[in-house]
């Protein structure tokens, strides 16, 4: 088995002392998720503006952000609708970018064994790139549970819906590059990567997945490159561990 993280990113409640009283899932969730919100709020604004320009009503925009909760799929859907594409084609094409959720949920499942059916149903609705990556590294680090995971899933959802509705009603997005907001999510991912890249196998996995994704992104349309690049990188990392040795 790969040894995942040895350290939490920070604010890990388990590290201070095992007996420390918990400050509550909402607070922990917020402390882990605020960089995601920092990114989803302006992204939501941009989506709201784009969708309103394409003729979507405020209610449609808010409902779509609440129910779909996926930036890439929503942007694609709105631009295809604006181009008068047939509905089944819009749904099929936009949903392709969501195929990567299959991998994310599969990886999360092992950490959610103690969650009941209703909890799983709710948890599933909040999985995005950002919330998945934060939750999975917190789970691996320990001191994390499904309540905190739910907070990480759904606090950014509020930011996403709020941003979309504001963008739709104000018609005003945050200018590109303002206050470095565009980089909040990549910076969060860099911090997660540094905390995960502990073993040669995990470093090899990240780099090979990234390079494979880069190649796929040149030859494939849309965002299929994330799924294929990740599958290639994980396979290589796993193979390296099998060949390279028993010592992790």
């Amino acid at each position: 088995m790969q040894k995942p993280l040895h350290e939490a990113v920070d604010n890990d409640p388990s590290r201070a002392s095992p007996a420390r009283p918990s400050p509550g899932p909402l607070k922990d969730g917020f402390l882990a998720a605020w960089p995601i919100c920092l990114s989803y709020l302006p992204l939501g604004l941009a989506f709201g503006v784009t969708a309103a320009q394409a003729g979507f009503t405020l209610l449609e925009i808010g409902l779509m952000s609440l129910i779909v909760y996926g930036g890439a799929a929503q942007f694609i859907a709105v631009s295809m609708m604006a181009g008068q594409a047939p509905l089944p084609a819009v749904i099929a094409t936009s949903s392709l970018v969501n195929l990567r959720y299959l991998l994310m949920s599969s990886a999360l499942a092992a950490h959610l064994k103690r969650l009941n059916k209703a909890g799983l149903c709710l948890f599933a609705s909040g999985i995005t790139d950002g919330t998945f990556l934060v939750n999975i590294s917190r789970f691996a680090a320990g001191g994390w549970d499904s309540g905190r995971g739910l907070a990480v899933n759904h606090i950014p959802q509020l930011a996403w819906v709020l941003g979309s509705v504001l963008g739709a009603s104000l018609g005003q997005a945050v200018p590109a590059g303002a206050a470095g907001l565009d980089f909040a999510l990549p910076a969060l991912f860099i911090s997660l990567l540094v905390s995960q890249a502990k073993s040669p196998a995990s470093i090899l996995t990240a780099i090979s997945a990234g390079l494979a994704a880069l190649v796929f992104s040149r030859v494939l349309p849309g965002q299929a490159y994330v799924l294929l690049g990740a599958a290639a990188g994980a396979t290589l990392g796993r193979a390296f561990l099998s060949i390279g040795g028993k010592g992790r």
Binding site: M1, Q2, P4, E7, V9, D10, A32, P35, L38, T57, M64, V68, A77, I91, S95, N98, L99, L102, L103, S105, S106, A107, A109, A110, L120, A124, S125, L133, I136, S137, A179, G180, F183, A184, P186, A187, L188, F189, I190, S191, L192, L193, Q196, S202, T205, A206, I207, A209, G210, L211, A213, L214, V226, L227, G229, A230, G233, A234, T235, R238
Partner: protein, 108 residues
């Protein structure tokens, strides 16, 4: 303020597909845990997804889709990586990254 019927179908359709893709693995793996070979492969998935999202983001220009090192995102990633390495702090890394990106955007 209203919802057109075809847009409602769109929203429900998109939402249903997105939801099923997120939920079906839970359903399958709750009934029967992943076999050992799959579980070992899935152990690598978080790191792999991180690399697969991050590296194209940093090296590809979002508007032209050109690959290159001399662009704000990659330039901002370097100090951001250094801060992440030194401090191991998520908050400092995110703030440093945003500041570096903002600065890089003014020069490049």
């Amino acid at each position: 303020m209203s919802i057109r019927p075809d847009i409602l179908v769109l929203i429900v359709g998109l939402g249903l597909v997105a939801y099923l893709l997120r939920f079906l693995p839970f359903l399958v793996l709750a009934a029967r845990p992943a076999p050992a070979w799959l579980a070992r492969w899935l152990d690598f998935i978080p790191t792999a997804i991180l690399g697969a999202i991050l590296i194209p983001t940093l090296l590809t220009n979002p508007s032209t889709r050109e690959i290159g090192l001399f662009q704000p995102r990659f330039l901002a990633a370097l100090p951001c990586l250094a801060v992440a390495w030194r401090t191991k702090s998520m908050a400092l890394t995110v703030l440093a990254g945003m500041a570096a990106y903002w600065l890089a955007g003014r020069w490049v």
